[in-house]
């Protein structure tokens, strides 16, 4: 929690930090540090629990509205108490553990999954002074915690002692592993541009505005834009969302690796999925959309965490929007997209990022050349690989028996 106050800072900006200091001010030093971190943990859990509840409701209402129907509006005023009703339902539902299942692993899987996805929240800078943990290798920590979820998925599939859930767990693992690669590779341009792995450093590198209007966010550079697109698609796949929700698709293997879970453990799995989605969009905002920076200099007075949450919610709505539109991908389409399209694109993107940073001193007309070449290097492979991706798949012909 950096408490350095820049001169023209509004009181709102430092409000959370002051509240925390007021709360834990009276404690002696060792206990005060502990109390501070506890307050931060409680704050994160509260905020993201409410975001989770609101997200389930928003998702169902937006999906409803897109399909010309109102979505839940019976529980509470305009359906606002629907998450509370769902929570209570999940709590009082019977928690069945199959007799042949391995009880320890069966219980441990959701716990590990939730723990891993909550741990990823520790390094996202929510505001100028709202950085829970300042790590030098924050990005690596984020992906390390993210990759622990794969272990939990396997434990869930294996512990249920059910052929289908094991098969589904293996398919889910294939998806998670093949999309972890583009996820990591898409952040390399960001690290190359920012020169550091620490989240606060990356956000600091995106401060300032060009010509007073265009912010220095990485999404406005060609390699950053391509990286952002790859990051978002891989984040969709990592959190088992919309076009990639094969593991828990009802029409596939019942509920995938979640078949043998009911009651609150099932709710824990879904909470972990939504937390994964939140963490991915939080990190996307930090890496590509300039973290808590305001889009225009004049808007600098508004507290920084407001900008972070605005971009964060925009990305979440994007997740829901894509879920309302895209049909589900088969397992072979899914892995072909990963290995034949996303990974090569991410590798080429690293090349563009190298070109972009090496040609930084170019000035005047050379800037246009620089932009043209970079855009070409970003868009070219996209078009070529895209054509290759769906080659040979002409319009489907039907033979009626």
């Amino acid at each position: 929690m950096s408490t350095a106050a820049t001169p023209n800072e509004s009181i709102l900006e430092r409000a959370p930090v002051l509240a925390r200091d007021w709360l834990t001010g009276f404690l002696p030093e060792p206990a005060r540090w502990l109390a501070n971190s506890l307050v931060v943990i409680v704050a994160i859990l509260l905020v993201f629990a409410t975001v989770f509840a609101a997200l389930t409701l928003a998702e169902r209402k937006i999906l409803g509205r897109v399909q010309n129907r109102p979505g839940p509006n019976r529980v509470g005023w305009f359906g606002l108490l629907q998450p509370v009703a769902d929570g209570v339902k999940m709590l009082i539902k019977e928690d069945i553990v199959p007799r042949a299942a391995n009880p320890v692993l069966h219980f441990l899987a959701p716990v590990v999954l939730l723990a891993a996805s909550i741990m990823t929240f520790a390094v996202i800078p929510y505001g100028r002074h709202l950085v829970p943990v300042e790590l030098d290798a924050a990005l690596l920590y984020f992906f390390a915690a993210g990759s622990a979820t794969e272990l939990a998925v396997f434990m869930a599939g294996w512990a249920s002692h059910n052929k289908y859930s094991l098969l589904a767990a293996m398919r889910a693992l294939a998806q998670l592993i093949s999309y972890e690669l583009p996820l990591l590779l898409s952040t390399v341009p960001v690290v190359l541009a920012a020169g550091t792995l620490s989240a606060t450093g990356i956000v600091a590198a995106q401060s300032g505005w060009k010509w007073g209007v265009v912010p220095h966010w990485l999404v406005f550079t060609p390699c950053g834009a391509a990286g952002f697109a790859i990051f978002m698609v891989s984040a969709l796949a990592e959190s088992n969302r919309s076009p990639f929700d094969l593991p828990e698709a009802e029409s596939e293997l019942i509920a995938g690796h979640l078949t043998e879970y009911s009651g609150f453990k099932y709710a824990l799995f879904f909470m972990a999925e939504y937390f994964g989605m939140c963490a991915a969009s939080g990190m996307a905002v930090t890496l590509f959309l300039g973290g808590w920076h305001a889009p225009l200099p004049v808007l600098e007075a508004v507290p920084s965490y407001v900008w972070f949450s605005a971009k964060f919610l925009a990305l979440l709505l994007g997740f829901i929007w894509i879920r309302a539109t895209m049909p589900r991908l088969r397992i072979d389409q899914l892995t072909r997209l990963a290995w034949k399209f996303m990974v090569p694109l991410a590798l080429v993107n690293i090349g563009t990022a190298a070109f972009w940073s090496l040609t930084f001193p170019w000035a005047g007309p050379l800037q246009l050349v620089r932009w043209a070449v970079a855009l070409g290097m970003a868009a070219g492979p996209f078009v070529l690989l895209g054509r290759g991706l769906s080659s040979g798949l002409g319009p489907r012909t039907y033979r009626y028996a």
Binding site: D136, A137, A144, S147, A148, E150, L151, L173, S198
Partner: protein
């Protein structure tokens, strides 16, 4: 300072020992993943954050998955193996050998005149690490990159193989 270290050490060694002694294969692998996270915790305790997160990312994320896939692919169905007659004595001999090696090592460590400087260790920043990797160790980095690609491509070719030759293998 030492209590945390002792806790981590006991947890890791306990998990590793349990992993090596469990009959069911997959429980072994999961316990081993636990001991790998224990080693990552040790790196964190020692201050090498980058190594700790790399350890978690590579071992707990990727290698444990590869091992689990391998274990699942080579399960021979539920025909439990008849315990080899020599396995009980063999385990005893192995533990004996392990204990002997441990004894020698611990004796050496106990008598070694290592005056550890309790000063706070060097802070390894990622920038400094990057400088090292790109500076004196740049050649090694390239070699490791080539090694990794060659090894993984070889592994894929080996594992994929030309498919089952003997028909009875597809039973």
């Amino acid at each position: 300072m030492n209590t945390v270290l002792i806790l981590i050490a006991l947890a890791t060694i306990g998990a590793a020992a349990a992993a090596m002694s469990r009959p069911s294969l997959l429980n072994c692998v999961l316990l081993l993943t636990l001991s790998w996270t224990g080693i990552a915790a040790f790196y964190l305790w020692a201050g090498a954050e980058f190594a700790a997160f790399a350890q978690v990312l590579i071992y707990v994320g990727a290698i444990s998955m590869a091992v689990m896939f391998a274990v699942l692919l080579t399960r021979r169905g539920r025909r439990d193996f008849p315990p080899r007659k020599g396995s009980r004595s063999r385990a005893a001999y192995a533990v004996l050998a392990g204990a002997a090696v441990a004894g020698v090592l611990l004796a050496a460590v106990a008598r070694s005149p290592l005056a550890a400087s309790p000063a706070p260790g060097p802070a390894s920043t990622v920038r400094e690490l990057g400088g090292q990797l790109m500076g004196p160790h740049a050649a090694a980095l390239l070699v490791v990159g080539v090694l990794l690609t060659v090894a993984l491509i070889g592994a894929v070719v080996l594992a994929a193989g030309a498919g089952p030759e003997k028909p009875e293998a597809t039973r």
